[in-house]
Amino acid sequence: MVLLRYVQSSRIIPKTYYHYLDGVSRLLTKVDKSVQEQTAAETKSIGFDYQYYYFLYKMIQLETGQSIGYEVKDDVHIDKENGKLILIQLKHSIDTKANLTEKDGDLWKTISNWIKIINDKTQNRSNLANQVNYIKNTTFLLVTNKAETSTNKFIQLIRNFKNGTKKLSEIKDHLTQISTPAPGKDPSVVDSYISLLLAQNDDWLKAFIKNIDFLMSKDSLIDAIKTKIKEKNVIESRIDDVYESIDSNLRSLIYETVKSGKKVTISFDLYYKKFTKFYEMGGRRKKLIIRSHTPKKPVPVDHLEYTSIKQLVETEIIDKRDYDFYDELIRIFTDKLLMHNNEQRWLQDGEITDDELKEFNKLTIRKWKQVFDRIHASLKQELRRKELKDVDKDQLNALALNCYHDVLGIQLTLDETDLEVELSNGKFYLLSNQPVIGWVYDWQERYKKL
């Protein structure tokens, strides 16, 4: 079948859509494939592919001061702290027995891409010195799932050049030989790529060959990723969860970045900020358990002795002439007790610590203060020219009333749990009972015990 031949050929399968090939390939004709190839090559579709997973794999190994890019300077690139750069090309073959031969199309397309990048005039690299300088600060890495083979003399020669056992001239001779077509035949595309390399200056070539590297048989990326996660001391049972969280969040991050027209570059700081939480000790209920059943208690007989009630009655915020006075009292005491009991329960169960509760109290008082100060701002200005005793009592009470109702609208949060209205209100009643907060302007003078 035409299709099988297609799949088994050594042609580059555009990596953005090889996953379609697996299941759907049997249904495709050669014509359909070309169209798909076209559109896939043009779209920057982010899918589950080799390049992406390699990117993830390297991202979780970022060190301080490094950044990693996705389809910015190369398929994947890493900027190191010392100004050095690693350019990474990913080449995947779905043929699991594929070898990286010395005239492999992937290999030479990659090298030709790199040549173009190095000699890029627009990047101020049109003269030899700049080019060589750029090469010396860059590592060129080809990552592929194809396997190494002993028939690839080119790679052998590169290794030998690096350790000093072969000279550049030997590499050039060998390349010239393999790229010369048989008599009567035209040079192939790969031949032209090899010629392009051979056309470079010797100094250029020496620097380049020193800095070129290959990572072969690199597959099962997902296993490799999970191993890295484990190496960060994540316990076995959580590794899959951590992997899935990082994966889905990274994909969203890339999607949002590309959508807004920006380049996908992730610095160590950004990675640390956004992804550390997924490694954290898990199994934690996100929210505190709120116990809404509280033993019913009757409103205390001496309710008027409670400071929280005094603050309300003496400013006429609530009054026994109101039709719902007793209902209000019940509500106030119930809310207060509910909040107190929950707080105590959380403390005793070790769900929150004393310090967290103290912080919570401080924050709550701050929120009250914002409202209190806002409501009484004008009065405060007046009191620069007036005495408090000369202020109309009704005015003071009206301000207290507004303050009270505004504060009751505040929703509090403790340990990432939103406390709904009864608990939030209960907290303010508790605080107004000590009292550390109040409603009327001079609440401190009136109610605060010394």
Partner: protein
């Protein structure tokens, strides 16, 4: 109204009055002293840094109950963390919150001559002193303390490993 009664009783009810914003006395020096002493009875020589890990474990009621349950058999701290991550999710915060209490409790035990610090800086239980509280008087301590005493050998077993490993597993931020 402030409550000054130090209680070892297991109580969910108001151990501090409704209107108090002062330090919660639920985790107090008495519980601290008892926890440390009874765990050290089973683990006679330990470094102070290991000792700091005891209170965050013993003051967690659910953890103590779980260890006391006859059905559970825990083979080590790592396994326990895997099985019951909810007991450890805020271990770091509990550790720092109880640090002062741990130190105070150690100092009290030293003053009471129940433990001492030897030349290597290790805490050593004083074998010459009698066991704290004879069995007949124990029920006076209250349920919570009794549960902790019952769990003390399990807790000692959890702390067998090297300190670095323990701190790493428990994710204490140093």
């Amino acid at each position: 109204m402030k409550s000054y009664v130090i209680s070892t009783d297991s109580t969910f009810k108001e151990s501090s009055s409704v209107d108090s914003i002062e330090n919660n006395l639920y985790n107090n020096e008495m519980i601290g002293v008892l926890s440390l002493y009874f765990v050290m009875e089973k683990f006679p020589v330990m470094s102070p840094s290991k000792a700091m890990l005891i209170l965050p474990l013993t003051t967690h009621n659910a953890l103590v109950s779980y260890l006391n349950d006859s059905r559970t058999k825990v083979k080590g701290l790592e396994q326990l963390i895997v099985k019951k991550p909810e007991f450890f999710s805020n271990f770091n915060q509990r550790f720092y919150s109880l640090l002062e209490l741990s130190i105070n409790s150690i100092l009290i035990l030293i003053k009471l001559d129940l433990i001492k610090i030897d030349q290597d800086g290790q805490l050593r239980i004083n074998s010459l002193s009698q066991s704290l509280f004879e069995d007949s008087k124990r029920p006076l301590l209250g349920k919570r303390a009794l549960n902790i005493i019952q769990a003390s050998s399990s807790i000692a077993d959890l702390l067998v490993e090297e300190n670095q490993n323990l701190y790493l597993q428990l994710r204490v931020k140093l």
